[in-house]
């Protein structure tokens, strides 16, 4: 199908959906937005700032000062502008994804363009957080823009987008190394100084990832040690993955997006959504995936159980925190399975077709 037709149709559909009367509960859902990306908190911060109270003096507002200045000066934050802005972010992200694909294939147009745009714009993991007006949409857009400029070799816009991304979300710093390698240039230090509190997990209101329940049930004595362990754990994946996939840095960035989705401190559904959407850039790996069915079913399983157990625990009161914790563990397993599948496929594809009578093992 023609990209020029499909893409505007999808964007228009998204815009209509954004203006549809949706339940307010989406904005407060803990799977779709975390304390760092939640829209009501953004509204509260802008409101406090406009009334002369420092929004950062309390623990409620955790967004970047960039967003605060954007929404208090340039863009007013009401229903109309938010819907338009968030849909525009998603549209730009999908367009950037298509450009990355074209740069990778070294063509200016291809038949898969509309499929890639559809995968991004129709992915429920990305659709729902956008409808919930989570600022992770903006973060995804900056990531994809940075990746797009890097694929095209334009270093300044790429690093600017990366700098903005790290300003918004500190764990994205794991993308610094692969992005630089992708640009094949010297490290440029135009990065804004990152804010500190993301690593201290001071609010365990996030519910989706592997961190929150772990740190809830921990005794205070061990808290700094495990915070250090978990943060360092996220960083140790960067160099090995980049070294192993130095022949194809874009694939390394894709793997690191998967690592980011599984292990970051305040994950929401948009992080695995980004990872899953990026898989559309590497169709050559599909035949080498070991167990795609299992991964898909695990994702489906956890995607159905997570909101159910969340509601059962907090709204209805008949469930326990353990129900929800178990479903986040399943979600972690499904993300891990997808990650492992991707790594295996990326390595396996280098070997190519096996001659008759030979088996491939790792030693």
């Amino acid at each position: 199908m023609d990209f020029g037709l499909v893409y505007p149709a999808l964007v228009a559909g998204r815009l209509l959906l954004a203006f549809a009367p949706l339940p307010d509960a989406l904005k407060h859902d803990h799977q779709l937005s975390s304390p760092l990306t939640s829209y009501p908190r953004l509204q509260e911060g802008v409101y406090l700032f406009q009334h002369g109270i420092d929004p950062y003096s309390g623990g409620l507002f955790r967004h970047s000062p960039l967003l605060l200045s954007l929404f208090s000066t340039a863009l007013p934050l009401n229903k109309f502008t938010s819907a338009c802005l968030w849909t525009a972010c998603d549209a730009i992200s999908a367009w950037a994804l298509v450009k990355i694909w074209r740069a990778r294939q070294r063509v200016s147009q291809s038949s898969r363009d509309s499929l890639i745009a559809a995968i991004y714009l129709l992915n429920p993991y990305l659709l729902l957080p956008t409808l919930a007006l989570s600022t992770s949409t903006i973060e995804n857009m900056l990531f994809l823009l940075s990746l797009m400029f890097a694929s095209q070799g334009q270093s300044s816009p790429s690093l600017l987008a990366l700098a903005l991304l790290v300003q918004l979300s500190l764990p994205s710093a794991i993308f610094i190394v692969p992005m630089i390698l992708l640009l094949l240039s010297d490290p440029v230090s135009r990065l804004a100084s990152p804010r500190e509190f993301n690593t201290y997990l001071s609010s365990i209101l996030a519910k989706l990832g592997l961190w929150w329940y772990f740190f809830t049930e921990m005794f205070d004595h061990f808290r700094p040690f495990f915070l250090m362990v978990f943060s360092a754990h996220l960083l140790i994946y960067v160099l090995p993955v980049c070294l192993k996939f130095q022949h194809d840095i874009l694939y390394a960035t894709y793997i690191l997006a998967g690592v980011y989705a599984t292990f970051k401190p305040y994950p929401t559904l948009s992080d695995p959504g980004l990872f899953i959407s990026l898989i559309s850039l590497f169709p050559e790996t599909y035949q080498y995936l070991r167990y795609p069915i299992v991964t898909t079913l695990l994702h489906l399983h956890s995607a159905l159980l997570l909101p159910l157990f969340h509601h059962l625990w907090l709204s209805q009161g008949t469930g326990n925190a353990n129900f929800f914790y178990a479903s986040t563990l399943v979600f972690g397993v499904s993300n891990g399975a997808a990650l492992l599948d991707a790594i295996w496929a990326g390595l396996r594809i280098a070997v190519g077709n096996l001659p008759e009578g030979y088996e491939l093992i790792q030693k």
Binding site: L60, F214, T216, E217, A321, Y325, G332, G357, Q362
Partner: protein, 527 residues
Amino acid sequence: MFWRNNILAVLLLCCTWCLATSEEFHEALTFRPLQDGRLATRFTFTTLLRGAYPRDPSTLQEEDESQHYAIFPLALGQVLREYAVTELHLTLNAGKWDYDHWGYPDEPGVGTGAELWAWMGESAARSVDERWKGLRNALSGQFCASLGSLDEQRTTSPELTFRPEGSLPQWGTTHQLRHGTLPSEHVCTENLTPFLKLLPCKSLTGIASLLNPHRLFDADWHGLGVHVRYLENEGIEVRLSFQSVFDPVRYSNGRRDWSLRSVFDRVIDRSCPIAHSSEIRVAIPKEETAVAITPDSYTTHAGFVYFNVSNASKPLDISMSWPDEQKFEYGSSQSRGRLSVSITNHMPITIQTSYLESMPWLLQFYLHSLQIYSNGVSRDDLISIVSYIPSVPHVRPTLFQAILTLPPKSTLHLSMDVIKPFLRYTEHPPDAQRGWDLPPAVLVPLLHSNSSTLDPGLSNPPSGFEQLRLPRRMYTPVLLVDLATPDFSMPYNVIIMSCTLIALIFGMVFNLLTRKFTLIRVSPEPK
């Protein structure tokens, strides 16, 4: 031959008839819809032993005359005679009776936990305390409640408060009262089962068949009571009661309509043949909204609707519905809620009051969602925020100060969204499920001396305006907020499971990244 058989039959009939008239069993069930959408129910099972007399404590040395009961519960009767108890009251309640919203209960004994009190006559043979001890242990065995621990450390004799509800027979000795409470006693099915065994029809037929423990012990408040008293010209009366307050809004997801099926999950299939009278009463609510009661076979008297269970067609299911009402809504979740304050100004002048809310950090405000309604109209001009210091989790509370302007003779509703955090393991108090108490908000009325604050509709200021004395400080009631609690038995499990998952993923990624691929030949070399 013929007459002999018949005489035997007639004699047998006369005997049972005599026995039957000497014992009477009445059962009743009363429903009272309450103003907050709840439903108060009360089961009463009364057995009257006519012509009976409590045992004289002076005869405790001798052998007791044998008692024959047909309907009167034997186990209870034996206990009463063994310890020569004149009057006995035992209640086992769970929950807090909300007098503000539910009014006065039909049975006054609504103290939480177990409460036992008895009037016993003095005796030289066995002291009252000795018999009290025996009575406690006997009843604790009978009802599976730990009443045996109501020893002298918990027993008192408050004769002014607990007056005898029946008559005390004149034996020449004084009666003494013994009273004990156990507020921490839990009530459950174990206590209901022996209770049901005391009924003549058990829980098989009649009104007692509605006693479904799954529903009864799920109610907002429930209590069972055993009351024995001696009535002067009648005999000994045993009244077994079960009161509960249900929440039909919770079961039906928004409506306060109820029926026997929806409340008890049962209907009455057969009526108890031994019952002298068996009726269900429903109080008609005093509001103007239309109420529909089915089935139609009832009589009305004095604000109550009466159903005769023995005559009604079976299976009997009574229902009450408010057909014109929309949803009866309330509620929040454990992750967020709405804090609201309503202030009523009864005076004919505008009053300005400072409103202080100092909230611990575990309830965070969304100031942008602050809404002010005065008599139903949204009025954002009636509040001006003086200072707001937001809370920092684990460090400091919220301080919110504002000036509210209250128009004359109006009610102001202030509400805003709040979010509730998820606390760490060590931050929860020992009774974490109780919730956290929130400090009250403080209002300080300020009075302006200039006349611009007077209601322009008044031509003269009200008399005594100069001497108006406003309270210096007013406090709102304390609130209780429930937060989501983790599973406290799980720290080790959580740590090992999370760490296992992370280690597994790390290990497999490490494996994939560090090992080399090699080809090995599996089929034999071609010759």
